[in-house]
C-alpha cells in the first residue's frame, strides 16, 4: 500500500509545533509547508500552516533538557541474564511529568556530561506530580554509559516529552471503553502501564498476557494489579505463544489488541489476525509499541525513517502495514 504523502504528526498542536521542519519546508503534515498549493494534509485537528504564519514563520524551540536526580534505583533480578536491568525513579519538573502520562510517552536519557549521541529513548511507565518511573536494560554502549551514571552520580539528562512510542493512537482513543488485550514481552512491558491506566480510566477492561522474553523477567504485574487490570503470565513456548494468543482472541471478544514486543511479534500477531479474519470472525483493531531506532526524536537525524516518513513524529494510525515495510 502506498502511504499518503502527508501524515498526522505527534507534535502538532503541542507547544513544540511548528518545529524546525516547518521552516525547512519539510513539515511531515502540511502540504502547503511542503511547497504545494493544495491542502491535502495529514489533518491534525489544528492547522500547522496557520500556527507557522502566526509565529512569524519561526520554528518553536524544541524540547527542554533538564539534569535530573535519580531518586530510586532497583536492579531487576534475572537469574540467567548476561546484562543488568533496572527500575528507576527520576525527579523531573511537574510539567514534564504530567505530559508523560499519555500512552506512548517516552523521554531521552543520557549521562550528565555526555554528548547527545548518548541519548537513549526510554518509555515512561508511571508518573507522579514530580517524578517519572522507568525501566532500562543495559546492553550496548549507550545504555552501559547510562548504567554507570545511574549507579555512580545518580544524575541524568532528561529530554522530553515525546509521544510516538505507540502507534494506532486513534484506535486506542476511540475503543478504550471496550475490551483490550495486550500482548507484552520483555522490555516492551514498560510501555504497558500507561495503556492499562488509560483504558481503565475510560471504563474499559484490559487483560495483559505477559512473557518474560529475552529480558527474562516480568516487572509490571504489581502495577497492573493496582490498576485493576487483569494479567496472565505466558511461559516461553515453541510457537512463541501464538496458540495461546489465538485462543484468547477467538474465545473472547476484544475490540483492541495492543502488541508490546518486537517487530517480529507485531508481524506474527498481524498474520494471526489475518487468519482469524478469513474465518469471518471479528478481529480487534491493532495498536503497536514502536520499535524504531530513534536518535533525535525530533525529525532531524533520519534514524527512524520508515517508508519515507520520520517515524519519530508521524502517526501511522490506520496504515500499520507501512510500519512493517522495513
Amino acid at each position: 500500500m502506498q502511504p499518503a504523502k502527508s501524515l498526522p504528526c505527534f507534535d502538532a498542536g503541542s507547544e513544540y509545533c511548528p518545529c524546525i521542519l516547518a521552516g525547512l519546508g519539510k513539515c511531515i503534515s502540511c502540504s502547503m509547508l511542503q511547497g504545494k498549493d493544495t491542502c491535502d494534509c495529514g489533518w491534525n485537528g489544528v492547522c500547522v500552516l496557520a500556527e507557522f504564519v502566526r509565529t512569524g514563520k519561526q520554528a518553536r524551540p524544541g524540547r527542554e533538557q533538564v539534569t535530573a536526580q535519580v531518586t530510586r534505583l532497583t536492579p531487576l533480578a534475572r537469574p540467567q541474564a548476561d546484562y543488568k536491568a533496572y527500575l528507576a525513579e527520576i525527579a523531573v519538573p511537574s510539567k514534564l511529568a504530567r505530559w508523560c502520562t499519555l500512552p506512548g510517552s517516552f523521554v531521552l536519557l543520557r549521562p550528565e556530561g555526555t554528548r547527545e549521541a548518548f541519548n537513549v529513548p526510554i518509555s515512561v511507565m508511571e508518573t507522579s506530580q514530580h517524578s517519572i518511573k522507568i525501566a532500562v536494560e543495559c546492553r550496548g554502549p549507550k545504555t552501559t554509559a547510562l548504567e554507570q551514571a545511574l549507579l555512580k552520580h545518580r544524575k541524568v539528562v532528561v529530554t522530553g516529552p515525546f509521544w510516538s512510542g505507540l502507534q494506532g493512537y486513534t484506535q486506542l482513543a476511540s475503543l478504550a471503553h471496550g475490551n483490550t488485550l495486550v500482548i507484552a514481552k520483555g522490555m516492551a512491558q514498560a510501555a504497558v502501564p500507561p495503556i492499562a491506566r488509560y483504558v481503565r480510566a475510560r471504563g474499559g477492561n484490559v487483560k495483559t498476557l505477559i512473557g518474560p522474553g529475552t529480558l527474562g523477567v516480568v516487572f509490571i504485574d504489581g502495577i497492573l494489579e493496582r490498576l485493576g487490570a487483569g494479567f496472565e503470565h505466558m511461559p516461553r513456548t515453541e510457537d512463541r505463544n501464538l496458540g495461546r494468543i489465538s485462543d484468547e482472541i477467538t474465545t473472547r471478544s476484544y475490540d483492541l489488541l495492543v502488541s508490546a514486543g518486537s517487530k517480529l511479534q507485531h508481524q506474527a500477531i498481524l498474520n494471526l489476525l489475518d487468519t482469524i479474519s478469513e474465518g469471518d470472525n471479528p478481529v480487534p483493531r491493532f495498536v503497536w509499541v514502536s520499535h524504531l531506532t530513534m536518535v533525535c526524536a525530533e525529525g532531524i537525524c533520519g534514524s527512524c525513517l520508515l517508508a519515507g516518513f520520520r517515524g519519530c513524529k508521524a502517526r501511522f494510525d490506520e496504515s500499520f502495514e507501512v510500519h512493517l515495510l522495513h
Binding site: 503541542s14 504530567r98 480510566a201
Partner: protein, 433 residues
C-alpha cells in the same frame, strides 16, 4: 504604539471585566486588552447565575460594592428562581444581550478598551512585569497588571486532550489561541489533575442548540418554564462522559440519563457534547443544530489547563505586580467565581499601583473563604492544608466547595443575613472607593 495606564487587565472574560471595574472604582486609570472582537470569553455562552452557593456569593459582592455585574446579569435574566437536578434558585441571563451591556458598562466607567489585541510578549525583571506587547505591535506599560486570560485551549490542548477543535466561542483559528501572561513571565502554571489517564484539563460541560431548530412545542415549553428535562434512550446513555467534565456540579447521573435543556437565549444542553445523529432521534430535536460549539456533536473546548499559584490578595506567586483572576487563579469554574476573584485582583492591582496596602476578604465570608481555599502553592499543592488544590473543581454551585460552604454555614439565601455578615466583617462598601 506605546500606551500607559496605571492598571492593565489582559483578557476580557468575566474575570477581566470585573477586575477592570474594580480597579477603576479604586481610582486607578485602567485599560483592558482582549484578544477577540467580543468581551466575556466563556461568558458569551454560559448564563447560569445564582444557583446554590452562588446566590450567597453574589449577595456578598453586592454588599461589598463589587456587585455591578450581578446587577447587570439580573437585569437581563430570562428566568429567575429556577430549579433543575442538583441546583436551586438559579437565574439565567440572556447570552445574546450580555456582551453589549457589559461593554457599555465598561465604557460608562471610563475604562479604555483595546479589542483584538492578543498579548504574546512580556518584558519582566525579577518578577516585575514591565510591559506586555500585542501581536500587532502595541506596547502596554503599567504599574500593575491582571492576568485574566482564562484557561480554555489553546487549540492544541483541545486537540491533544479532547476531541479536537469543535469551533467553540473562543474562536482560536480566527484570533489566535489564548496566551498566558504568567507563562510569558516564566511563572509556574499547572493543569487540573483530576484525571490520572491524561496529562490534565477537562472538557466544557455544556453545548448550545439554536432554539429555533427545536420543535414548536419544545421551544414554547422551554421559553415558558426555563428548563426542560427529556429522558435519553437507554442505548444512548454515556456515563463515561461525566468524568471528563469541567463542572463536577453537573457530573451527576441525571445529566447522563436525561437531556437537561435550559433557556439562556440558546437551548443550553447540559452535556459536553452529544452526537448530532443521536440528538435528532429525540422527540422535539429532529432538526436540532448546534450554535456552540458549532461541532457540538463531536466535542467541546478543553479547560483548566493554566492555573497559577497565588496568595489571598490574588498576587501571582513569584510576581511583584501581576495579579491573577478567574480560571487562571485556581481550579475555579463559573461566572460568579470569575467575577469574585476578578474584583479582588482588580482592586489590589489598583491599590498596588497607588502604593496602598492590599485587601484580603475575611474568611468569615463565603467569597473570602473560597479565595483562600481554592489557591495552589508554588509546587502545585493546595495552599491550605485541607484544600483540594488541582484535584477538584471549585465552584460555589456544587461539588466539594458547596459542601464546604454548607458545612461552614456560609450558604444562605437570606439577603439581610448576608448584609449583616458583610458589615460584621468590616467589608461593607469596601470596593466602592
Amino acid at each position: 504604539m506605546r500606551i500607559y495606564h496605571e492598571v492593565i487587565v489582559i483578557g476580557g472574560g468575566w474575570s477581566g471585566v470585573s477586575a477592570a471595574i474594580a480597579a477603576k472604582k479604586a481610582g486607578a486609570d485602567t485599560a483592558l486588552c482582549e484578544r477577540t472582537d467580543m468581551l466575556l470569553g466563556a461568558g458569551l455562552v454560559g448564563g447560569i447565575m445564582r444557583n446554590n452557593g452562588r446566590f450567597s456569593a453574589a449577595e456578598e459582592c453586592i454588599a461589598m460594592g463589587c456587585g455591578d455585574l450581578f446587577e447587570l446579569t439580573d437585569s437581563i435574566a430570562r428566568h429567575r428562581n429556577l430549579d433543575f437536578p442538583g441546583h436551586s434558585h438559579a437565574s439565567l441571563y440572556d447570552v445574546h444581550l450580555a456582551e453589549p451591556a457589559v461593554r457599555a458598562l465598561l465604557l460608562k466607567h471610563g475604562i479604555a478598551l483595546y479589542m483584538e489585541k492578543r498579548v504574546t510578549r512580556a518584558r519582566h525583571r525579577e518578577g516585575k512585569l514591565i510591559q506586555v506587547e500585542s501581536e500587532d505591535g502595541y506596547v502596554f506599560h503599567a504599574e500593575a497588571f491582571v492576568d485574566a486570560t482564562g484557561s480554555s485551549g489553546p487549540q492544541g490542548m483541545c486537540q491533544r486532550l479532547g476531541n479536537g477543535c469543535a469551533a467553540c466561542i473562543q474562536r482560536c483559528p480566527s484570533f489566535g489561541p489564548r496566551v498566558s501572561i504568567a507563562r510569558l513571565m516564566g511563572l509556574p502554571e499547572y493543569m487540573t489533575s483530576r484525571r490520572q489517564d491524561i496529562p490534565g484539563g477537562a472538557m466544557s460541560g455544556s453545548c448550545k442548540i439554536y432554539k429555533e431548530t427545536l420543535s414548536q412545542s419544545l421551544r414554547e415549553k422551554l421559553d415558558a418554564e426555563g428548563v426542560v428535562i427529556i429522558p435519553v434512550p437507554q442505548d444512548m446513555v454515556n456515563y463515561s462522559k461525566l468524568h471528563s467534565k469541567v463542572c463536577q456540579q453537573y457530573a451527576l447521573r441525571e445529566y447522563a440519563e436525561s437531556l437537561v435543556l435550559l433557556d439562556t437565549g440558546h437551548a443550553k444542553l447540559m452535556t459536553s457534547y452529544f452526537p448530532l445523529e443521536h440528538l435528532r432521534q429525540i422527540p422535539g430535536l429532529e432538526n436540532a443544530r448546534y450554535a456552540d460549539p458549532l461541532a457540538g456533536g463531536k466535542g467541546n473546548s478543553m479547560r483548566l489547563t493554566a492555573t497559577v499559584p497565588r496568595d489571598s490578595t490574588m498576587l501571582a506567586t513569584g510576581a511583584q505586580n501581576l495579579f491573577v483572576a478567574g480560571e487562571k487563579a485556581g481550579i475555579c469554574v463559573g461566572h460568579t467565581e470569575a467575577i469574585v476573584t476578578g474584583a479582588l485582583a482588580g482592586r489590589n492591582a489598583a491599590l498596588l499601583a497607588r502604593k496602598k496596602p492590599l485587601l484580603v476578604i475575611p474568611g468569615t465570608l463565603a467569597t473570602g473563604d473560597f479565595i483562600r481555599f481554592s489557591a495552589i502553592d508554588e509546587a502545585g499543592n493546595p495552599a491550605v492544608p485541607d484544600g483540594y488544590g488541582l484535584s477538584a473543581s471549585h465552584a460555589f454551585a456544587g461539588s466539594v466547595y458547596f459542601e464546604r460552604m454548607k458545612g461552614l454555614g456560609l450558604y444562605t439565601t437570606d439577603q439581610g443575613l448576608v448584609r449583616s455578615r458583610v458589615r460584621e466583617a468590616g467589608m461593607e462598601g469596601a470596593f466602592c472607593s
